[in-house]
Symmetry: C2
Subunit: 384 residues, 2 copies
């Protein structure tokens, strides 16, 4: 095993960031292609920037974000957070008591690790399921969680969504929707309603996913609950800071539904090109992906690496040789090791798809060349 713990994952990420820095400094930003679908942005003009002081910035931008954020997310009030994970932590700290149950419905297991981790922190029992029925909500349940679209962009069925919310509300249990990318994917691409309009009490989206906003979370929902959660958010330092709030505001204003829809056609082209060489690529709503397990199935050579290690090594070859950034290289600990090539963000718009498919193939060939040399693999992932 090359990457064996959360600590290894942190070191891997740090190495990826050093490689990115080196590319920017030696070849320039144009030689980097962020295809994570999370590349976000920081849109701000000079007059806005001069207001970014601790107590002045939030006054201006948080109020403006209320209007724009509610339009994007629904609900009665929004709350900007440092990360979607921080918002999940704050919600669970506020609503979930020790020894109570938390039930999580999602279209495909497993859940994003921040949810079970936060439940463990407060001493709650956590259950997750992709089949929700009348037996799914046990006695003493304090919170029902629904994931709108998984880390691999699998989207929930709208009827299921409504059913879960209804069943929770029949028992007076609040519903939190983790709508990280779903707030845009579900609504723009699948024409589903906003989570709050479907009855969610709290919904959270990631402002860097499928929109040109900063890394951060935006929570929306019932005012009374948001106010309660905000107390925990402020107590433990989980709120978004003024520069992020400003960039969220401008990111939402600059969110372009057309770009998201256009990436649909291009992903079909890329998928066909890759199918000539590979068997296991899959389409996502806005690109293509291959899971670590499916990547392992593409390989006939015998080796001692884990499936995840294969994905990490391939991601580092893509980054070092071609400046292509994917999540397995730069992701936070616990992030999915699936390699996704997302075509919905700005770096992807001008990327020639034939060129991209050739670079993916060449990187895969290089993976095969090093696969039996564990020392070399370790060097690719951990060394600059």
């Amino acid at each position: 095993m090359i990457v064996n713990s959360s600590l290894d994952e942190v070191k891997k990420r740090e190495n990826a960031l050093s490689i990115i820095k080196n590319i920017v400094e030696t070849k320039g930003r144009d030689s980097l292609f962020d295809l994570t679908g999370l590349s976000g942005g920081f849109i701000a003009n000079p007059s806005e920037l001069s207001l970014l002081e601790t107590y002045v910035g939030p006054a201006i931008f948080e109020e403006a974000l209320q209007e724009v954020g509610i339009e994007h997310m629904g609900g009665e009030k929004v709350l900007p957070l440092n990360r979607t994970s921080s918002g999940i932590l704050a919600t669970i700290l506020t609503l979930v008591k020790k020894d109570s149950n938390v039930v999580h419905y999602l279209a495909e297991l497993p859940a994003h690790p921040s949810i079970p981790r936060s439940c463990k922190l407060v001493g709650a029992k956590y259950f997750e399921t992709d089949v929700f029925d009348e037996f799914s909500i046990p006695e003493n349940t304090s919170l029902v969680i629904v994931t709108g679209s998984t880390m691999d962009h699998k989207v929930i069925d709208e009827d299921e969504f409504r059913k879960v919310i209804e069943m929770a509300h029949e028992k007076d249990i609040p519903v939190m929707v983790d709508d990280a990318s779903g707030a845009r994917l579900r609504t723009v691409v699948f024409n589903q309603p906003k989570a709050c309009d479907l009855g969610a009490d709290i919904a959270i989206t990631s402002t860097d996913k499928l929109m040109p906003g900063p890394r951060g979370g935006l929570m929306a929902g019932r005012k009374e609950l948001i106010d309660e959660i905000k107390v925990k958010v402020n107590q433990f330092g989980l709120e978004a800071q003024p520069p992020a709030v400003l960039a969220m505001l401008n990111g939402i204003k600059n969110f372009n539904e057309e770009n998201l829809i256009n990436s649909f056609d291009r992903k079909d082209q890329l998928f066909e090109l890759l199918c000539k060489q590979f068997n296991n690529f899959e389409k996502t709503p806005t690109g293509v992906m291959i899971s670590a397990e499916d990547l392992a199935d593409e390989i006939e050579i015998s080796h001692n690496l884990s499936d995840n290690d294969l994905a990490f090594i391939l991601a580092f070859i893509l980054l070092k040789d071609y400046g292509i950034i994917t999540i397995p290289a730069v992701g936070m600990p616990g992030a999915s090791a699936t390699i996704r090539f997302d075509l919905s963000t700005s770096d992807a718009f001008n990327f020639d798809l034939i060129d991209l498919s050739k670079k993916i193939e060449a990187s895969f060939e290089k993976l095969l060349d090093v696969i039996t040399n564990e020392e070399k693999c370790r060097e690719i992932v951990f060394s600059f």
Copy 2:
């Protein structure tokens, strides 16, 4: 009681932010005087701003911050955090086990609430003391915390500081130093060494306190511990985001020791002016302050308000009538209700001190006028 709960404190803060927004929009930024000593800043140039994307920004700025941050804080590695409170939470999540003991030494009680709160979250027993001796560290202690300078800027004695660290290390217990403002106040004004140079394993400073940086926390310390803490930080979304990291970098570079030292002379002048009218103002290292209790003692009229309420009302009068921002108006829940006029930050440099003392006196007179009218007081704190 006017402000009666954490929720009231959140509402109070929201109202203060609305008032600030209105002043900026109707009269301009020049009509606001942020004397909190926390006003921070956001220094960035256009070429830096264009790099503020999720995976590119951190690569560039986090590496640069290593060098500049270690120079400011000491230690082997630094870690930028969303808030000092988030860093305290992450450290306690990493180092403190359920049912173990945490001992906190500070020059004057009480502690910043984020420390006992984080201990409670992990189920640890928390003790705080301003007298540290051989009996202060019980069996099964997982962490010793030292506060370098309290919320009211009371600074620790250097010999005591060394003694506490030595006693903890004799028992192999790690020491975290909460050096929120102390990292500058202790070193520049009191000529003390950096916390890491005194032997602290982990030290955290607030990058908006007494320096022109953003709201945020900067942790420094032993590499191996920082790496462990960073895992929790990334898992729960507690890290500083790229715009904050950039502003921390530039804030440290622009930190001016002279300004901090100059505020020393001016605070003596302001103190003398206020002594003509008041009995209970005290000097801080960089300004003057009056605690809620001491404010109550200035008042001879009989009334039903709590001491904290008096401070909150006075802070809102200062803000609404004169644009003077103090912590009781804008502070996070649990922040000290002491009214501090800090002269070390840029808004204070050009403020005529005779004018300032007259505005403080007039605000106090207005407080006396409304003190028996609870409805009016409530309106001052909660209404726009």
